[in-house]
Amino acid sequence: MTMHKAKSKSILAGLIASAAAICYGAPLHAQDWSYAEAAKPYAGTTIRVLDEITPLQETMRKLVPEFTEETGIKVEYELLSHGDVINRGQADLFSGRGNYDAIMLHGLQLGPLLAAKVLQPIDELKKDQALTNPDLGLDDLIEPANESLVNHSGAQYGFLTWNYNQIYWARADLLNHPDEQAAFETRYGYPLAPAETMQQMRDIAEFFTRKSGETLAGETLSNDFYGIVLEGIPGGTTFTTVWEVFMNNWGGGVFDADGKPNLDTPENIAALQFWADLWKFAPPGQAEYSLIDVPTVMGNGIAAQSIAFSDFVLGVDRPGGGAYAGKFVYGGIPVNAENPDARSAGGEPSLMALSSHSENQEATYLFMQWMVDEDTQAKLMEAGGGGVPIRRSSFDLDVMREAGRQSLYKAMAASLQYVKAKPKTPSFFEIDNTMGPLVQQVGIGQLTAAEALKDGQRKVLSICSDCLLAE
């Protein structure tokens, strides 16, 4: 080998090595990053995390020890009911006690908490390469829920961890029954199928509302049967469902573009009237049904269809979940045929937010990050036999492709295309407490839609005239 050839070879080898280093440099760095390595300075730290108790979080609780094992960070993962996680979490944040390092927050809580400046933005932590997983893949998170939830005024306040969404839910055994299909088509002039429009949902509700002694799917009814069941209690999510599922689909809403209350518009009146008309086909106890009672009624086989939160559906429609498990069909929130462009779906995307009073912010940030990590989410779906995804890629997991649940997951995906977090208003709870009883009174026929919304507009205006937090 000549000197020239040897020199050329060594240059070539150097170039190849350099190219390899350039090409593989970034992935090598990503492969090097691990929760164990990032958590070394915080090993032995104990963090306290407050979350809501539903089957989803109970599954997450089973995974939390894996984080502790990997990082040495001990996590006290406390689960409380919906109301308690809101009340206790807010009390901890507002009071500045800092008992919890991270708290699960529903989107509706963000207005008051951001106004009180008790949440710690995570932007600085995200920039810290030692702390942040370069493969976190946040662009995989489902939108528009994520963007509308976690960001405010140019800062990020935590990670989307739960993606509560509402779906359309119906009894497949009834909708597929040949006698019912024939009778429905004769009466309404189109085939009986899961409702794709609000108007179809209303027809199905009317069609299946039957008295005791009448026939349903070839059987004589021993009790009254109802065409639809919805949440109707004055608290809970009754008003927000009216808002997101009905008013928005009619082209209305609670606020105008400037954040001023805008309740008594023709669109809102029409939407509320439509919602209230559905009560004619609902069980007489609907006024006392919360978001938890609705799945109970569906699970007891008393109603033909509903709009419900999909995480509760998971509890009812599972083997052993009840007499009607496996007999349901799902869909996205039906569109208003009269205004198909105004698509909207109800939901409550929720985040894990860092308390500004936390003394363990780095360790807590690692845990928050781990919760949304693709691996953790995959394990969560696996351990729960499915779930409600926060990542688009979760829909591709084997466990989510299980044949029996396809209808449900397609419905979730269809709904989640339109689920946004609530607008950030410091007066959210006051507005909700004002409007909840009013819309319920329309449902039970004590007020007309126009009367309730006129009164609501007056009352909400007395709460705030410029209701949204400034960006």
């Binding site: 009390a91 106890g285 009883p437 004590q446």
Partner: protein, 292 residues
């Protein structure tokens, strides 16, 4: 001088109880009063606000609605509990058969946490799926529809009856204990004088029981005004605001809306209202019924 003869001795004996009372009652009340005159921004005490919390409270129609709801609730529940409790106690006092079994059973509703009572009645009477509403009310058509708690006409009445179910046994047991403790000699003397049972009841039993009745009645009256858990569980204040009592409204103001100043003002006003009512009640009971 022996300690017993000291003029400070009774005060020394009363001091621990007085201290506890000050810590657990007076201090929170004074703090609530302080909060009611301040602007509270998400739990943080701000500037002095004068009467603004009070005036906002007075302007809120839900304040007056809740007071009216509580009044109706008490007017239904309290007389029923009182009459049924006294009647039951008089019956038990007659050495009825099975009294030793009935007495412990009577404790069950009273011992149950109100939230559990709410859940029990929810499971029994929830419209369409409750155990009784689904299987009995709906099947046999006792009511139009099946829901009691979601009807604007029946909800408050039903809630009052739940309260009667829970607290009548307590009244019964308290009155029974009072009856058992009555002295026998006046009754013997009345029997010798040929008094009828009605005369004995109105001339002896009622006057002798008056102090107990006033105390128990006052306690139950105040307690009925404060009802929260069962209503929260069963109707959440609905339909509309037809069952929204002051405690439920105050809870919402404090823990959902964080209007701490207004809810503190509400608490102060309710406290003053009760103070005035109880003082009047006490003086009337003392003068007219010779109860104290």
């Amino acid at each position: 001088m022996r300690p017993l003869e000291s003029r400070w001795y009774p005060y020394a004996l009363l001091a621990p109880a007085f201290l506890v009372l000050v810590v657990v009652s007076l201090v929170p009340f004074l703090f609530a009063m302080y909060l009611s005159f301040h602007q509270i921004n998400f739990g943080r005490v701000g500037d002095f606000a004068g009467w603004s919390n009070y005036s906002r409270l007075m302007d809120n129609e839900r304040t007056w609605n809740s007071l009216w709801v509580a009044t109706k609730f008490i007017l239904i529940a309290f007389p029923l509990q009182f009459i049924l409790g006294l009647g039951g106690a008089l019956l038990l006092n007659k050495r009825v058969w099975g009294r030793s079994v009935i007495l412990p059973l009577l404790f069950i509703p009273t011992m149950m946490a109100p939230i559990v009572v709410g859940l029990v009645w929810k499971v029994m009477f929830a419209g369409s799926w409750g155990l009784l509403s689904y299987n009995i009310v709906e099947r046999f058509g006792f009511l139009e529809g099946t829901s009691v708690f979601s009807s604007p006409d029946y909800a408050l009445l039903a809630l009052a009856l739940v309260d009667v179910w829970q607290w009548t046994p307590f009244m019964m047991l308290a009155f029974f204990a009072g009856l058992q403790a009555l002295p026998v000699s006046p009754y013997r003397a009345a029997a010798v004088d040929g008094a009828t049972p009605m005369q004995m009841f109105f001339r002896l039993t009622l006057p002798l029981m008056a102090p107990l009745m006033v105390v128990i009645g006052m306690l139950r009256f105040i307690d009925a005004f404060k009802v929260f858990d069962t209503i929260y569980t069963l109707t959440a204040g609905g339909p509309g605001t037809s069952t929204e009592v002051p405690s439920l409204l105050a809870y919402r103001m404090s823990f959902e809306q964080w209007r701490i100043g207004e809810s503190a003002a509400f608490a102060v006003l309710v406290w003053i209202g009760f103070f005035v009512l109880c003082s009047l009640f006490y003086h009337v009971a003392k003068k007219k019924l010779n109860a104290f």
